[in-house]
């Protein structure tokens, strides 16, 4: 289990994450939503050990998370320029050299499922195809945790739908957990188990998506808006 306990993160004395405590259960897809600047990307980096908390603890199965935890957590960054001088095939070879858990074959199967060409340099691919390639490289790793920063941002609805299907097809939710940030709440909601709403670096609300629908007779987007109106 991945746990945040009283985690704060400050950058140049500015608080970005403020006293966040949360346990991410295994075997679920958890969505992190909130306005730009609410701290989503920072929180994901703290979760993966890329940033160390200013105070508090991040624990993976009871042990402190550091950069070495990368062996159990696959991170999909939100940056677009991502080894752009490589072809897809070279990118996968690079991943295979860096991560013991990387399955070159699986990455190729995902790339094929997402219809993306392996022989073109990433810089010559469209944004949608780079998004597909990033997803294939990430899912190529066989790890208990996937942490994805905006995997669907700026992509057209067709690409988004494909990536969502790829995510369902190539993860094993009995043993794997996905934590992803997104602004596409309406489109992504059907694949989420839980949703966390972040505001000013703190958790404003959190619930199971089906419970939200059951109790409020409304979807996660409306639920989110209700909190903004209150706030």
């Amino acid at each position: 289990m991945l746990q945040l306990s009283n985690v704060s993160f400050r950058y140049l004395k500015k608080p970005i994450i403020q006293d966040v405590t949360f346990s991410f259960p295994t075997g679920q897809i958890i969505g992190l939503v909130g306005e730009n600047g609410s701290g989503k990307s920072t929180l994901l980096k703290v979760l993966t050990g890329l940033l160390l908390p200013s105070s508090g603890e991040v624990l993976l199965n009871g042990q402190s998370v550091t950069r070495r935890s990368a062996g159990q957590i696959a991170y999909l960054p939100d940056t677009d320029l991502f080894f752009d001088f490589y072809t897809g095939e070279q990118l996968f070879q690079h991943y295979a050299s860096q991560f013991e858990d990387f399955s070159y074959d699986k990455a190729c199967i995902v790339a094929q499922f997402l219809h993306v060409d392996m022989d073109t340099k990433l810089r010559n691919l469209s944004k949608g195809n780079r998004g597909r390639m990033k997803m294939a490289a990430t899912l190529g790793r066989e790890v208990p945790y996937y942490v994805m920063d905006e995997p669907f941002a700026g992509l057209d609805p067709i690409v988004r739908e494909e990536l969502i299907k790829g995510l369902i097809q190539f993860t094993d939710i009995e043993h794997q957990t996905i934590i992803l940030s997104t602004h596409e709440v309406y489109e992504v909601e059907p694949i989420l188990d839980q949703i966390i709403l972040l505001q000013n670096g703190a958790i404003l609300a959190h619930d199971e998506v089906e419970t939200i629908r059951d109790v409020t007779n409304n979807d996660a987007l409306q639920w989110m808006k209700t909190y903004y109106r209150k706030g």
């Binding site: 075997g27 679920q28 897809i29 739908e161 969502i164 299907k165 369902i168 097809q169 939710i173 909601e189 059907p190 694949i191 989420l192 188990d193 998506v209 089906e210 629908r213 059951d214 007779n217 409304n218 979807d219 987007l221 409306q222």
Partner: protein
């Protein structure tokens, strides 16, 4: 293709309704095999855990049977399907009555409209 879901109900219950509809329309027949949980999740664009809940619900409703190692099948009990038909008809009629009452229409005047429509 991915499904569009209405905003006001849990996704699992919309999928249960959809499969019930497929049974009533004869798109799914007695004894038909349902896709695996993952296949159905990918087809509909829904979380695997949600589809698992759908399949559990259908089984609890005695509409499906799970055969170990073989998958999930629509029941072969024809009576259960007849019952489902009746239940659905009653549910539709009840919803209709509630709606017309809310708007103050009488059953008699609505019956006239229903006959004209057909």
């Amino acid at each position: 293709m991915t499904l569009d879901f209405s905003r006001d109900k849990p996704i699992y219950s919309q999928l249960v309704d959809r499969i019930c509809g497929d049974i009533l329309k004869g798109k799914l027949l007695l004894g038909d095999r349902l896709p695996s949980v993952r296949e159905y999740a990918v087809e509909t664009g829904v979380n695997v855990n949600t589809v698992q809940r759908v399949y559990k619900e259908l089984e609890a409703m005695d509409l499906t049977e799970t055969k170990r190692g073989q998958g999930t099948f629509i029941t072969t009990n024809e009576e259960r399907i007849v019952e489902l038909r009746e239940d659905m008809k009653n549910l539709l009629a009840q919803n209709f009555l509630t709606s017309i009452e809310a708007l103050g229409f009488s059953r008699e005047e609505m019956l006239v409209v229903l006959h004209k429509k057909s």
